[in-house]
Every structure is written in structure tokens, then in C-alpha cells.
């Protein structure tokens, strides 16, 4: 993609254009916040009931002990992947378009990983002792955790990912918070001054900031790839048919990035309208995001195909039986929703007309998110309901409590995101200025210019 974009704004328009609407968002904002709070309330009530009455309220029972909660956990961790991909990997590749969407993707990552982190707590039932189970503390017999278990690997991976994502996000915010500090007075100024660490933008500060940002990106890049690989090992390290396969790490990473990119688009498009950011998040940037979504969709499509091929080619009859049942058995509906949403619908993105039709892209991206949720549901449930022993086979459907908590997780995620956007810039102002036409005496600061 060409990095050249014709801008009708200059660097002088950035602070006013991005900060002014945060104080007075579009009415749509309040509608979205209200809806999110209702969803959150549903989730809180359902979880409270589950804590009071116990795990019997969930649909979890033999043989399916990993159900909707673990599906949600994997889904939300996956959503979180686009943030660091856009912040770190695209930064190292010098893809300039990422500067207009990186803040939204990073915020999305932080809130998605926090949401994901809640699901193991919800899943274990007795949440008040869950924290104790998840850190390497000796138990009552003075026995340490089992470091050979992928579950403890996951705790380390997710905690590291959340911490590094938070650091990345906050460091990016520091120069922007300093800009906010310089626009206000009184108590607000004190708060923003404290939050920006007293940033002044001297050459020395920028010099070390840029170096540190690069190192953070270099550290975060393998982290993106490792986190969902480790999540995939929660499954692949077992001997369960349908899970025990070496393709899982790259397959999970590609799926995570697909769902993350689709979610960034799903968020950026309405938020761009709510905060009147059309002049800064340009259609070319949105198109680049769609191209990335298309790329990851084709990788996922390939992974689905090769997974089937290997199940057949391995000659393992248990493995092959699971895959046949996935496509034709009682859970076939979920399987075909997954394939349609993740493989077939995104094929429309090959058309430049569709890529530039924002409504069509929005609908397809929402469908991809639906498809990615069903992918995790399909992987987890279909392998667990029918294991090696036919006598223990069963059936699983999520209970109302599980569905309500799932709805609540969306409410939780969107509530935090909407609150964040109300008070902080949704676009990284200091980084956006880097891809806009430079204020040069030779070319003047003009309304029309080209930049990344």
C-alpha cells in the first residue's frame, strides 16, 4: 500500500480536532454507554447468582468442564492481540497507517485482556480463593505449583501480556496527557501534570522515549506470538482428539490477530463518528486495516483446511472422527457459522469496492467476531463431548447464566472503553503528527498535503 495520503488537516489541527470532541461526544455515545451498562448489569447479576448458588447454575458437567467461560477467555485474549500487533509489530515494520489507530487498538487490548483475565476466576467458581490458585504459592501441604502444566504457563503469559500492554499504552499516552495538561487549569491541570510525569517534550526526553519505545516494541513482538501459542498449549498439550496437534500455536495466533483486527475496525468506525475523527482516521487507514484482516483470514482459512487434512492423513481414527463430527454432527451449525464468518465472508475484501464500503466492512467485521467466538466454542466443546470412551459421551449447551455472563463481559469491555474515550484522546496525537505533512518552511503549512 502506498503510504501517501492527501490530508486536509495540518498538525495545528490535531490537538483541537481530537481533544475538543472528547468533552462533547455525539449522542450515539450515550446510547452506546447505556447499552453497555445494561449488559454489564446483566453479567453482574448472573455472576452474583453463580457465586451464591454455585456452579450448578452453569451448564458445566461431565464430560464438559471447559465450556463457555473458557471460550470467552480464549476469545477475549485473542481480541487483545491486535493491539500489540499494531503497536509493536507494525511499528517495527514502519507501517505509518498504524499511527491513526494504534491508541484505540492498545486501549482495546488492555480492556480485552482484563476481561479475559476475569474468566478463569468466573470459571473456577470459588473466586475468593482463585487468586491463590493462580500464583506460584505453596498449598497447604507446602507443595509448589506444577511448572510442567500449561495452565501455569498461561498465568505467566497473560500476566506478562497485560503488564506489557499496559506499559505500552500508558507510555504512548504520556505526551498526549501533557498536551491535555497544557490546555486546562486548576485541579485538572494538577491531575494531568501528575499523570504525564511532568513531561515537557525536550529533545533529551524524546530521545530516550523513542529508544525505549523501540525496545518495548522489540520485546512485545515475540510476546504477541508467544501468548496465544501458550493459550493454544492449554489444549494442544493434552491428548484429547481435536486438540493434540502441532498446528495449534500458529493457528491460534493467526485467529487471534484476525479477531483483533476485526474488533479494531468494529470499534474504530463508530468511535470515529462519535468523536468526529473522520479527518484524522482516514479511509485509507481503514482500508489498510481491512487488508490486514483479509491476510489473517486467508491464513485462518488455510489452517482450517490443513487441520482437516492432517486429521485424515495421520490415520488416527479418533482424530478423524472428531473432525467429521465437527462438520456433520450435533455441533455442525457452530462449525459452519465459524467457517462462513472467518473464511467465506472475508473473501469479499478482495474487492476494492467492498474494502472502501465502510458499512459492508463493518458488518463483515462483526460477523468475523461472531465466527471467531464460535471457533473457540467449536474447538473446546466438540472435543470434550466425545472423548475416547463412548460411555462418557455427553452433550453441552450453555446455560442462561453462562450466556448472561458472556453478555456481561461485552458490557464490561465496552463500558471501560467508552469511559476511556470520554476522557482521553482516542487517537495518539503525538504519533499522528508524525504521519501528517511536516511543517516545513520550504513547503509551508498548507491545508492540502501528503503524508503517511
Amino acid at each position: 500500500m502506498s503510504d501517501e495520503i492527501t490530508w486536509d488537516k495540518t498538525v495545528s489541527d490535531v490537538n483541537d480536532g481530537i481533544l475538543a470532541p472528547t468533552g462533547k461526544p455525539h449522542p450515539m455515545y450515550y446510547g452506546a454507554l447505556g447499552l453497555s451498562l445494561v449488559c454489564l448489569l446483566i453479567g453482574i447479576v448472573a455472576w452474583s447468582l453463580q457465586i451464591i448458588y454455585g456452579m450448578g447454575l452453569s451448564g458445566l458437567n461431565s464430560p464438559v468442564y471447559w465450556g463457555t467461560y473458557i471460550t470467552n477467555f480464549v476469545f477475549w485474549v485473542g481480541i487483545g492481540h491486535a493491539g500489540t500487533l499494531i503497536s509493536a509489530i507494525l511499528f517495527l515494520f514502519r507501517a505509518k497507517w498504524r499511527n491513526s489507530v494504534n491508541r484505540s487498538a492498545e486501549a482495546m487490548t488492555v480492556f480485552a485482556v482484563i476481561t479475559a483475565g476475569m474468566f478463569p476466576l468466573i470459571h473456577v467458581g470459588r473466586v475468593w480463593v482463585a487468586a491463590y490458585w493462580m500464583v506460584p504459592l505453596p498449598n497447604t501441604n507446602q507443595l509448589w505449583v506444577n511448572f510442567r502444566s500449561p495452565l501455569i504457563w498461561d498465568v505467566f503469559a497473560i500476566s506478562t501480556y497485560l503488564t506489557v500492554s499496559l506499559l505500552f499504552w500508558y507510555m504512548g499516552l504520556v505526551p498526549d496527557i501533557a498536551s491535555m495538561r497544557d490546555r486546562v487549569r486548576g485541579f485538572k491541570r494538577l491531575v494531568f501534570g501528575f499523570m504525564s510525569f511532568g513531561w515537557t517534550g525536550t529533545l533529551r526526553q524524546w530521545h530516550h522515549y523513542e529508544a525505549g519505545y523501540g525496545f518495548l516494541a522489540a520485546l512485545a513482538t515475540p510476546l504477541v506470538l508467544s501468548v496465544h501459542s501458550i493459550v493454544s498449549w492449554d489444549f494442544a498439550m493434552s491428548v484429547q482428539p481435536g486438540w493434540h496437534t502441532t498446528i495449534f500455536p500458529p493457528y491460534f495466533v493467526a485467529g487471534a490477530i484476525l479477531s483483533g483486527c476485526a474488533m479494531v475496525y468494529t470499534l474504530v468506525l463508530p468511535f470515529r463518528t462519535m468523536f468526529r475523527l473522520e479527518g484524522f482516521i482516514r479511509k485509507e487507514h481503514l482500508e489498510a486495516l481491512i487488508k490486514l484482516t483479509l491476510l489473517t483470514s486467508t491464513i485462518v482459512f488455510y489452517a482450517y483446511g490443513i487441520e482437516f487434512f492432517v486429521a485424515w492423513y495421520s490415520g488416527n481414527e479418533y482424530e478423524w472422527a472428531i473432525f467429521q463430527k465437527r462438520a456433520t454432527g450435533p455441533y455442525a451449525f457452530y462449525f459452519w457459522v465459524m467457517v462462513s464468518c472467518n473464511c467465506f465472508f472475508p473473501l469479499a475484501f478482495w474487492s476494492s469496492k467492498i474494502r472502501n464500503n465502510q458499512v459492508a466492512c463493518f458488518i463483515i467485521c462483526v460477523l468475523i467476531n461472531v465466527g471467531m467466538w464460535f471457533e473457540r466454542y467449536n474447538i473446546i466443546i466438540s472435543s470434550l463431548v466425545e472423548d475416547f470412551v463412548p460411555g462418557s459421551w455427553g452433550h453441552y449447551e450453555p446455560s442462561l447464566t453462562e450466556l448472561a455472563i458472556t453478555i456481561g463481559s461485552f458490557g464490561w469491555f465496552f463500558t471501560w472503553l467508552l469511559i476511556f474515550c470520554r476522557f482521553f484522546p482516542f487517537v495518539s496525537m503525538s504519533e499522528l503528527k508524525l504521519i501528517m505533512p511536516k511543517p516545513l518552511r520550504s513547503s509551508g503549512v498548507k491545508r492540502q498535503g501528503t503524508g503517511g
Partner: protein, 173 residues
């Protein structure tokens, strides 16, 4: 409260002007202690910053943090497995599952490396600084600035900065 040093602030609008000024006053004794302020990290300015401050020392923070992470990531499970071995399949205690420890080594390398990098950025950038001097509010918006301590607007330095394209030069206390 510590009194801030008086001096002059010159405001620039154009990137090429500020780059030119940065280069020309870098080693000048008349501009000793000056600060260049920018609203973003333009590559041209970062190049000049590297010339002035040398390669950023943040890299050593990252290296030390990452290495200590690797060490901790292997040492922690090794010690815990030594402290109370979990004997699986009758395997002798004292045989450690080193391949599994790579996960902890890697994750803690990233975690400690990232934390140390942030610390490096703060320490080297002299942050947090609650008494930071805000040279001009426009420098976090769309203007560059040069602060020269200990001189007045009638000085030779102020005249030179105006000549180099400063939109405005004023004294600050």
C-alpha cells in the same frame, strides 16, 4: 520551592528552522544549557538528539532487565522443584523439566525487560519531574521552542534566534 532560572524562549513554527537552529547552537558557548522542545519526535530532530546526547543508555536498562528475567524464569521453578519435587511416573527426584522452564524464562525476560525499559526511559529522561518547567504551552501542540538560560531578549542570542526564523522571542522568569 526552587526558583527557576530566567532566560529567553524562542518559538518556532517550522521543522527546518528548528533543525537549523539546533545544529548551529549545539556547541556554542553563548547558548550553554539551552533546551530544544518539540511536540513530537520528528526523525530529523531525533537524529540531532543522537548527535547531542549520544546513543540512548536505555538499552542497558533493557538488557539488564531482560537478563535478570531469564535468570529468574529458570531459577524460580528450578528451586521450587528442588524444594519439593513432584515425582511423576516414578521418575527420580532431581531430574528437572528444563524445556518447560523456557516458558518462564521467556515470559519473565519480556516482563522484566519491559519494566526496566520504562524505568530507563524515566531515569534518562529525568522523569517524573513534579517541578518541570513548561517552557511554552504551544510546544505540546504545534510549535517548537528553544530555551536559553541567563540571557535577555535584548541579547545577541535573542537576535540570532529571530534571524533564524523564530516567530517570537520573550523572556521568562
Amino acid at each position: 520551592m526552587k526558583k527557576q532560572q530566567p532566560g529567553i524562549v524562542a518559538i518556532f513554527r517550522y521543522l527546518d528552522d528548528i533543525c537549523h537552529v539546533t545544529e548551529s547552537i549545539r556547541d556554542s558557548r553563548d547558548f550553554r544549557g539551552h533546551e530544544i522542545v518539540s511536540f513530537t519526535s520528528y526523525h530529523e530532530l531525533m537524529h540531532l538528539a543522537e548527535e547531542r546526547h549520544g546513543p540512548s543508555q536505555v538499552r542497558w536498562f533493557t538488557l539488564v532487565g531482560a537478563l535478570s528475567g531469564v535468570f529468574t524464569g529458570f531459577a524460580m521453578p528450578l528451586w521450587m522443584d528442588y524444594d519439593w519435587p513432584i515425582v511423576v511416573g516414578g521418575k527420580t527426584a532431581g531430574i528437572y523439566s528444563v524445556p518447560a522452564y523456557f516458558v518462564f524464562g521467556f515470559e519473565l525476560m519480556v516482563l522484566f525487560g519491559a519494566l526496566a525499559t520504562i524505568m530507563g526511559m524515566l531515569v534518562m529522561g529525568r522523569l517524573p519531574n513534579p517541578k518541570a518547567r513548561i517552557y511554552d504551552k504551544r510546544t505540546t501542540d504545534d510549535r517548537f521552542a528553544v530555551f536559553v538560560p541567563g540571557v535577555s531578549v535584548e541579547s545577541e542570542q535573542a537576535r540570532l534566534l529571530k534571524e533564524k526564523g523564530a516567530e517570537e522571542v520573550y523572556s521568562t522568569t
